[in-house]
């Protein structure tokens, strides 16, 4: 069995396991390539008819392309789409420039998700996170219990072996399920190519720039790139393994310093 097929089967197994264990679940769809890949696996797991809601957290700040894409494929794929918005905060003008960026994310994303989980009583949420995204992800499990406050105790997680996942819950708990945890960014693009999954145009280069990840318009900035097709993106990812180094060190240090200062509220 080839690499991508093995990854796909692993994901489908996990999705079906989560559905069996909890029944009342939802898949989080940000419209990005990762969560769309996950959605694709869900469609495969249930022979084209996903038996649970597809949850989209709308901050009101998404790119217009996102809404168009979402509505088109929600219809085409027959999704039970739930759009969750923190209406109160959106109306009150919350935004990355109003409070801080963190506060904005907390209100419009985290709290909107919390509210949706509470309202629909979801016991588990499928998420398209990947292990290679971020350092802390290396410690993630496939079935990751969170308490009512979204707490994740990553120092002491249940062991996972041989596809046996811990799934017991307390009243207020929910689980985060990560079916594509094992895929890398490159795997996702190769899979998108093989499966011909429709991908939002923001990933393609326009006037020398494209988005490497997509979310809210004010907080996403494009990277320099000429890659317009999936093939070109794959080519770009495989050839730009080592990044630029010497000569830019001061810029890098400054960028680091700014990020640190910003996280403490300076600047």
């Amino acid at each position: 069995m080839d690499h991508l097929t093995a990854l796909e089967n692993k994901s489908i197994f996990i999705i079906r396991e989560a559905y069996y264990r909890f029944r009342n679940i939802a898949v989080l769809w940000s419209i990005g390539k990762d969560s769309t890949t996950l959605l694709w696996h869900c469609r495969k797991a249930f022979f084209g008819k996903i038996p649970f809601p597809v949850l989209h957290i709308d901050t009101g700040y998404k790119f217009p392309e996102i809404y168009r894409y979402r509505d088109r494929y929600a219809k085409e794929w027959g999704l039970d789409l739930i759009v969750a918005r923190n209406e109160e905060k959106i109306r009150s003008g919350m935004g990355p420039d109003k409070g801080s960026k963190l506060e904005c994310c907390t209100e419009l994303k985290t709290n909107a998700l919390k509210a949706a989980i509470a309202r629909h009583g979801f016991k588990a949420i499928l998420l398209g996170i990947r292990r290679d995204e971020h350092g802390i992800r290396a410690k993630e499990r496939v079935f990751s219990p969170r308490d009512g406050d979204f707490k994740w105790n990553y120092e002491d997680q249940p062991a996972e072996l041989w596809d046996n996942y811990k799934s017991t819950t307390h009243e207020e708990d929910h689980y985060r399920i990560h079916p594509i945890l094992h895929m890398t960014e490159l795997d996702v693009w190769n899979y998108v190519k093989r499966e011909e999954i429709p991908i939002i145009e923001l990933y393609s280069s326009k006037e020398g720039k494209r988005y490497r990840s997509i979310g809210c318009q004010p907080c996403c900035s494009p990277i320099e790139s000429r890659a317009r097709t999936v093939d070109e993106i794959i080519e770009e990812l495989t050839t730009t393994k080592t990044s630029e180094r010497a000569g830019r060190a001061q810029d890098k240090e400054d960028a680091y310093t700014m990020q640190k200062l910003r996280s403490l509220g300076y600047m």
Binding site: M1, Y20, G135, A138, A159, T184, T242, R245, A255
Partner: protein, 406 residues
Amino acid sequence: MEERSLHIVIVGHVDHGKSTLVGRLLYDTGSLAPEKYEEIKAASGGEGGSVEFAYVMDHLEEERKRGITIDVAHTFFQTAKRRYVIIDAPGHKEFLKNMITGSSQAEAALLLVDITQGVREQTRRHCCILGLLGIDQVAVLVNKMDVVNYSEEAFDSVKGDIESALSGVGVNPSYIIPVSAIKGDNVADRSPNLGWFKGPTVLEALDSFSSLGMEDKALRFPVQDIYDMDGTSVIVGRVESGSMHRGAEVCVFPEGRTARIREIRKFMADDIEEAATGECIGVCIEDGALRRGQVLTDGATPTRSGSIRANVFWMAGRAWHPEMELVWKGTTQEARARIERILKRFDPASIEVIEKDAEEILPAEVAEVEIRLEKEVVVDRFTEIPEMGRFVLEHLGEPVAGGIII
């Protein structure tokens, strides 16, 4: 190049040069920038001596976050033959649970032994777990050969110790290779310093290993769930071993009755004749309803039993005691369970039997036990069909032990 990547785990005592080897493998296969390698080398050989593998990965990650270095695929490297994924498996005893979680996904292992230190407690514990997990593609790397001036005599004497230590835990290494991770001898390239050694380099050894699940075995298809698709009952699950054919007659265990496969379903694929090992599929059968936990089989008859004998390794922080209520979970099967007898318990570090007919199992210990289940389950011996020969025990919803059926 092979399509599928091979998952490997690197184990050994925390001081024996794991992070240097990782750095070296990434570097020599062109997956790591030279400055990074220097940094890892410095960190590993520094005063403190030991650097956890996980730490190296974290450190690389920290660098990536700051945008200073490379892209994220550090845990991956490739040879002309195939891609490799290195699984993080921390060395310390406290991380046993994580080491087991990591190692359980590996198809091959590299075991590091420092020539100046020989076989240590952690080395033995790790070997024991490799043995229990059934990882039989193991290459032992005798590291730091540069420190002993690449002496063949020194190597031979450690080699003997290693062989005797490993045979005690049922691990039969495919190779024992003298290397120096820090200097790069015998890792990717054959070293003139070790001209007396006629065996393979580390990469050659890895390339000689095979991905698992390739052999032709009997069909085992545990039912994962039943979906109602417009009035049709579709049985979903994964082919754990062997293959499933349309029109074939299969046995439904544990009942033992037969059924015929009418259709194999996958989304966006029509007219499927056959499903191979590892595929997640849906099937429709001609007669009778099924439920989760039943197993469709052909070929060799599996064992159907309410009592099994197994080796278990205790991962929980608390000891086992006879009143403990357990749940046995193997593939999609589940049953309440009780450990009825502890035939013997032993310390994986020394492999000495601590006690026969024991009353308790302490954390990080291994025991041979007899498990009584509330109902019959379908299993195979681990050595025959590993997917059907392994299980987890849970207590109050927490996984407390892993086991293999002997």
